[in-house]
Every structure is written in structure tokens, then in C-alpha cells.
Symmetry: D2
Subunit: 290 residues, 4 copies
Amino acid sequence: MPAPQSTEPLYILTISCPDAVGIVAAVAGFLADRDAFITESTHFGDAVTNRFFMRTVFAPGATSPPPDGFAHAFSRIAERFEMVWGLHEAHRRERVLIMVGKAEHCLNDLLYRYRTGELAIDVAAVVSNHPVLAPLAEWHGVPFHHLPVTVETRAEQEAALLRLVADLSVDLVVLARYMQILSPPTCERLKGRCINIHHSFLPGFRGARPYHQAHERGVKLIGATAHYVTPELDEGPIIEQAVERVDHSYDPDALAAVGRDIESIVLARAVRLHVEHRVLINGRKTVVLR
Amino acid sequence: MPAPQSTEPLYILTISCPDAVGIVAAVAGFLADRDAFITESTHFGDAVTNRFFMRTVFAPGATSPPPDGFAHAFSRIAERFEMVWGLHEAHRRERVLIMVGKAEHCLNDLLYRYRTGELAIDVAAVVSNHPVLAPLAEWHGVPFHHLPVTVETRAEQEAALLRLVADLSVDLVVLARYMQILSPPTCERLKGRCINIHHSFLPGFRGARPYHQAHERGVKLIGATAHYVTPELDEGPIIEQAVERVDHSYDPDALAAVGRDIESIVLARAVRLHVEHRVLINGRKTVVLR
Amino acid sequence: MPAPQSTEPLYILTISCPDAVGIVAAVAGFLADRDAFITESTHFGDAVTNRFFMRTVFAPGATSPPPDGFAHAFSRIAERFEMVWGLHEAHRRERVLIMVGKAEHCLNDLLYRYRTGELAIDVAAVVSNHPVLAPLAEWHGVPFHHLPVTVETRAEQEAALLRLVADLSVDLVVLARYMQILSPPTCERLKGRCINIHHSFLPGFRGARPYHQAHERGVKLIGATAHYVTPELDEGPIIEQAVERVDHSYDPDALAAVGRDIESIVLARAVRLHVEHRVLINGRKTVVLR
Amino acid sequence: MPAPQSTEPLYILTISCPDAVGIVAAVAGFLADRDAFITESTHFGDAVTNRFFMRTVFAPGATSPPPDGFAHAFSRIAERFEMVWGLHEAHRRERVLIMVGKAEHCLNDLLYRYRTGELAIDVAAVVSNHPVLAPLAEWHGVPFHHLPVTVETRAEQEAALLRLVADLSVDLVVLARYMQILSPPTCERLKGRCINIHHSFLPGFRGARPYHQAHERGVKLIGATAHYVTPELDEGPIIEQAVERVDHSYDPDALAAVGRDIESIVLARAVRLHVEHRVLINGRKTVVLR
């Protein structure tokens, strides 16, 4: 699953549609007819829902049309197969807005990967209901917006958030241990483009204080889950999960310390998968095309 | 956590008691005074419950008393510290009764490890409510008892089981994918000496058909959990857990196939930890002293 | 990477050729023109060697030609792109010959998976230079051939092995901890269809007694490697590897015990990948299309 | 293996000596006689070298002597058993000097853990032969020393390094992807207190450009190794290792990207184990007492 390295023009075509004979042939033929060279292609047919998912990366050739031309011509194939589809420039960096509370581990990790180019994103802004992480954002050259929130001001605060998303042309909102729950309408508005990191191996330990729950239950592995945000708390489609071994000697603080490393890694992986257009939504689940 | 290899006399002392100054010194001094050589010793003080747990392996020396003498003399220390304790011959093989349904993977794995000596146990019997696994047990030279069960005959069947446990001097009952639920009184009778393998990463996916639940939820890792049986279904103290990575392409059957490998390994590890007297119960949890 | 479950006709087409524009389109178009429904397709273009690798699974439709017709028609595309290719019935079980020494863990695991259908293979024979594992093979209903070997008789013994391979129509030879080294000519004869399990994480600890080497070096993880056999000892293309955590308390015997579990799992995975036609050879390396 | 959390006085006693009857009793009795409460204790007897290793954490009681008194009194026991031993204040932060080249991932990770208190160390200085990472060090409030090096100036540069180690009372030197090889005399001077991160799973891929070596060999897992520095390149006692799964699609750059995450984690774990006095050297190997 390495990221594309070169800087030659490269496009990513993502498709989701009812499964049928001839989809791969139609897409591959379409690209070959336009002198495009496929560098990666993965697909998956879900036998349960009978839906087909595809991700194809291609480089235009000498006689290829411009992107607009591709898209225009492709729309006829898309109609025939009732496709939900997207055509993305592979080297365009997705614009990301990161929301945080007071915990800095996920933010630090994402900003480090952004700054070093490890993660090919543009961080448009960091938003927090607390001011404490402003210096961290600023050192990485990222604007920090302090949007405090109370029960009374939630609607207003979320409106400010959505304005930032619009004004900054944000593609993806990342809840990097943002401890507030977004209202259902905001979740709907950000559907499919808002990723949360939950500090447990879902569906175990939903809700608050999962490391305390894990300590009480005496589990031998703890985990983290990155998922798309939906109005149902901790129930959105899962993108990535990981676990780490612990034992009886870990108190809730020690579990949380181990958890911080897992959370950072799982969230970074999920963001990478998303911005590389590898994650397609399949009802309550995801298809991750590596 | 290797198993003891030699055949010289070796004893395992396990202790659980309220934490206090001087426990290690008292135990170690007691052993040194009796010319015993400590080859392993681990302990753990739980700061939450304020209980202390210890496992010490020792070899008697030339002037050591016989085991009975050790035990008799030790009871004074045990009283002083209000210890729950046990003195076990390290080379004595625990007698194990394995209960199964129709699924053979865990049974096959345990019998293989028993037959090759990989797992230092004596398998006293295999008990099943179905006859299908009789040839497997018999090939390994283990008596097979077919105890069918219906709602009406459950009490009677469990009485037969408990008679076998008594008659065969069984130390440990292993539910190796036995798909029946034991009644609360039987769970109580087998408390601390009955291990179940649950085919999910508890506390996620409690109850029936966990691989179908996992498929519906779209998790990216599946797991298995070995725990002591208690009257509360799937809530007993956890001994061992493990997970394996899966993806969207796994249907419930494929998840179950991956799961079978994890279940076999997790159950074998839990049995080994138990028969090596490494697992001490701490309320709803375990302390596993490696 | 789940195995195909259904029993409807299904074919696997594997391709390796110089990379070029239009390969996917040519293959997918060829199949669509013949009413074939692609259920899986994966490919990989190696930017270093400029070679292209593809595995496509398809179900024939109502108006599809018979397999021979497919193959005949496909040979023209194959020629155009200079393909090395194969067309395999997905439900045909590959015929496997397993070679062993005295250690039974890998054999036991493979025979268990064969008998329960976990691994969709036919085990044509077990061959060993020792008689000890005959009962295990026979209990699983597999013919056992005792072919002892000395320095003087090696050529003769390997000739007998190759006769068995021919007479039993063996597709794959598995060295399941067979402790003899096959001669270079025999390695050549079995090129690409002979898998060995090496009991270390190659390239560390090549050669003899790897667990003793690992113990001396004090490594914190030990592993196993399944690879195709080539005349250069332990240097063939790697198919699969895995590791497990150990610590200072493991002596060589304890390392070997942990190693046995890893070896069994890694070898079973490699055999499965091979018989599902997922492993394509790329010079000294493999491309594994999951 | 959680770090101590409280701030009450706490001591760590580490011992290495020839194995014998009565060591644990002597140590535990010594502590109990002085009203010390053992909170953790682990030991290991190496049956091959016949050496005994012990780490004991204890809290002084109301009538305990001061640390000096402990140490003085203990020296008699130490002599009797020919112990190499140390008595450390558990809450004293070890002083660490970090050496880097141009790669920042390990430095960033260590400084993050230092700044947030995740890793209980004092970073006394960052030393590099390149100036590029100065801003990173300075943002974390750590002095940065630029000590460039050429073949001609190596001796002089290492002398400057050793002066810093002395002047800053450095306990531990961490080579966090410092790409220069220290001379044998400097390795000797820093023996047992200099940790290197090697970017491969040793003993595989010793020496330069291990990710290129790994790519050529086509391995399916890549790893990192933290070890003490010795005059023999990449041969020092291993403290910690980890691996991550890769496949044929990873070119050397992609392998290196995955590797950076493993390197950071493995190095941080090794530093933590060292500063918690959990790592005792046993010839060419380590004993890690968790």
C-alpha cells in the first residue's frame, strides 16, 4: 500500500455500482482506448449486497485527453452501470482540518507526518475547544482556531466549524481525540468525510472511558478503531483497527499510555487510506482497496 | 514462559493474599531455610484491590523435607498472611477432560499437543453431545463419552459429566467449542477449573454467531478469548486473547476459518498457562504470572 | 484471501509478461466478449523489472465457450503480450506430495487441514526417510512411502521420489521439515512446485540449527519462512513469513516449541497461496496476489 | 511493564551474580528487616551461564534507613554472592544525549515522549553532524550541538562528544539514526550506556542500506532492532525488536517509510526499558526483566 512517489500526472478512478458482467472490461477498455497506462487496479464484488467496488490508478499517455475529457467521456459508462464514481488527481493533496481536545498525541503524529511529507496531505487548520495545543499547531505552521463549546453554544460552534470547512475548501475532517460529540445534522453534513479515532477495539467498550472499562474487564489486548462519523455514536463504518498486548499489571493510566501509540498509528493509517481514495463505503461497512 | 523440561523434583507454590511488608522475604526465607533452590519466582501486587499474587518454582535440595513437610511447615506462614495457596508438583500432569460439539479444530489441536508432549497434560476423557469426534479421540488413545443432551435431560447429563470429573480425578474441564451452556450450579461446581474458548474478541460480540456479528459490523480484526466459565455467559475472567487481521473480502465462513486457527492457539495457550499454575483469579479478572 | 466456496465452474487465469498499455483491457475485454463474469482480479506492475503480473478469477456464463475454447482463443492475446500464463480450474484440488523427517508438527497440521477441507488439496502421498510418521499418514488415509537415504543412495532415492511425482500426477511437493537437502538437479526438476519451510526468519540464521543460533544471538522475535526450493540452500523466493515474540527465558528447546507453531501456520499459508495460484515468481522474489 | 506513576520515594535494586541457593531470600529478608515494601520483583536464572539476574523495586517504610544506609548495608550481601549491583532512585530521570543525522523520525518521537512526560527522561542535549534538526530540538527546549565529522576529524569530534557526556552528566547516549560509526575506543567508553537503532531485523541485513537489501531479497516482514553499541558493528546485545508486514508492492522507499514507524517505536521501548533499569547484560545478550 505504498503511496505514489513520482510527480508525473496520475489519476485515481473510484467506482461503486451494482455488480454485472463487463465492468472491468468496460473500464479497462475505456482507459486503453485513451492511451492510459494502468499502474494499479483493485476491485471487489460483495456477494452479499451484490455491489461492485473498484479503484484504478492510471497515467495518461501521449495521446490521452485532459482530465475533463476523461470525466466527460466516462460519464456514459458510468450511467450504463449506475456507478457512483470519482476521478481524482493522485498528486493533489487533500485538505484536512484536524479537531482536537487537550490530548496531543494524535495531533502531534499527524502534524509530524504532514510536515515531513510522510503523509501527503495539506493541513488547512487545527480546531479545538481548548487553547492548549495552539503552540504545537503553530510550530508546524498550521493556523489554529479556538472554538470553545458549551451545551448552549454547540449549534453556533458547529456552524463556525462548518464555515471553516467551506471557507478553507476542506476535504476531510479528522477528529483526533476531539472529546465532544458532533450533533446529528453536522455528522450528516460531513458524511463520508469525517474520521474519528475511538480509543477502544470497537465494538467492545463503546462510549466513555474505554480504558477504565478495559481495566475492569481484565482484557489481554487493547485497541483503537478509526471510523467514519455517523449520527450513531461509535457505530460508523470502520476503516482501520489495531491492538497491542497488555497484562494484569497495567492500570488504566498505563493502558491509556499504550493506547495512545495505537491510536496515533491507526488514525494515521486511516487518514492515509482515505486520502489515497482507497476507502469506499458499503452500507455500514467499508471496502478498503489496497 | 517455557515449560519446565527436566524431570528432577520441582514444586510450584502459588499464593494470593492481602498485600503486606515481608511476604516475599517470608516465603523466600522459608525456602532458603529448607535448602530449596528457587528457579522462577514472579509476583504482583494489585494497587487497586491491595491483593498480592505470587508463583514460585523451587527445587528441593539435599537436606530439604518431603513435600508434606513443606506444606505442613508452610501453613504457619500462610496463616500469618491470610494466604490462599497451593503447592503443586511441577512434573505431575494435570488431568484434563475435554468437552466438544461437532467442531474438531480445538480438539485436534489439544490432542496433538497432548500426544506429542508439547502440552504436559493427561487427557482423561473427551465428552461430547455428538458422536462424530469419537474416532479422533480414539486414535489418540483417549476414551470418548457420548453424553447427548436435550432441554429435558440437561440436569441428568450434567450430573453424568460431574460424575466423570470425580471418577476420573479430573483437574480441569476444557470447553473446546462445546456449544451447550452449562447450568449455573455446574458452573459453580467447576469454578476456577473450567476453561471456555469464545470465538470472539470479548467483550465484543458476546453470545451466538459472533463471526456473523463481526461480518455485519465490518471489523478489521477478529479474535478469540479463553476464559474461566462462570454462571454469567461470556463474562468469566479472561485468561488469554489474540486477534488476526481480516478485510472486507471475508464472508462469515472465511472469518470462521481464520477464527478456527486463533481459537486453537488461544485455547492451547490458556490450558498451558492454567496447568503450569500461572493463572490466579483476582475477582472478575486474572493475574497471569509468566 | 478467503478460498472460493461455491462449486459452480470457476477458472483462474494467471499471467506474467512485460508491462505495457492495454493488458488489463485486453484480458478483461476478452473475458467480457465470452460472457465471463470476473469475480476477483488483482495485478501488479513491478517498476524495477518492468514486468506485469495478473491473477483473474472468472465464472463462465451461459454463452461462454468450454475451457479448451478459452485457452485456445486466449493464446493469441498471450502471444501479443509475450505472456507466461496458466488457466486453472478453481475447484480442482492440486495434488500434493508431502516430505517429512521425524518431526510431525507440520505434517499433522497439513493433514488436519486436508482432512477437514480447510485446505482444498489432495494429498497424494507422504514420503519420508524415516518410518515413524507412517501411522499418522495412514490414519488420515494417505499412502506413506518410506524412502530411506544415505550419501550413497541419494541419487537413487531422489529418482524414486521423482517417479512418485510423475506416477501420482503430483502438482506440488511440500518439504514439511524434511531434513535432507535435495540435489541441484532435483531442485531444478521441481522448480516452482516445491515449497520448503525454513525454521528461521530468513535471511537471518541460514543453515543448520537456527533455534540454537537464535538463542546465542539473543533475538527477541523468532520466525519461520516458506520459500520455493532452489539449488541455492535457503535462498529461494520467499512466499510467506511470520514471527512470534520470545525473551531471554527461552532456551533452544523452548524456542523450537514456539517455532513449531509458527512453522505450521506459515507453511499452511504458503501451500494455500500456491494452490490458489496466487504466487507468481518474479526472479528471486515472489508476487503474491491476494 | 507500566512506568511507576507515584512520586513517593521508590528504589530499584538491580543484581547480577552467579546463581546460588538463598539469593532471593537474602535480598528479600534484607529489605523486610529494613521495613521496605517490595512493589515489584523479577528475576531470572540462566541455566546455560549459571548466572542470576534480579530487579527489585521497593518503597522505604517509616523506619527504613536512608538510601546511603541501604547501600552500605547491602554491600555485605553483595560481596557474599559476588554481585554486580546498582541501587537507583526510581523517580530520578536519567539524563539522555541523543545523536542524530538528518533523519528526524526517531528524534521527533523521543522528544515528543520526553516533552509530554510519556518517557520519564531528561534530554540533556541533541548532537548531530548536520545542522538540519536544530529547530526541532530547540522547539522542545533542548540544546543542540552541531559536531560535524570527517575521516580526519573523527577522533576530535568523538572527544567533543565524550566531553559533553561528562559535562552534562549523561547517563545514556541514544543513536537515533546517527549514520556515523563510533570508533572502538568510544564504543568501549560508552559500554552498556549507548543504544543504537538498526533499521533491520538483525541478524538479517547487517550493514548499509538494509531496506534495499530487504527489497532485493523479497522478504514479507521488515523490522528494526535496538541494541547496545559494541565495537563489533550491529553485533551488540539486542534489547528490543519488532516487525511489520509488507509485500511485493513495496519499493525500497516504501519499505523505509514503514520502517521509520517501527524504528521509532522500537527505540522508544528500548530507551524506556533501559531507564527503568530493566535491561541487564548477559554476555552477548540481554535479560529484560519486565
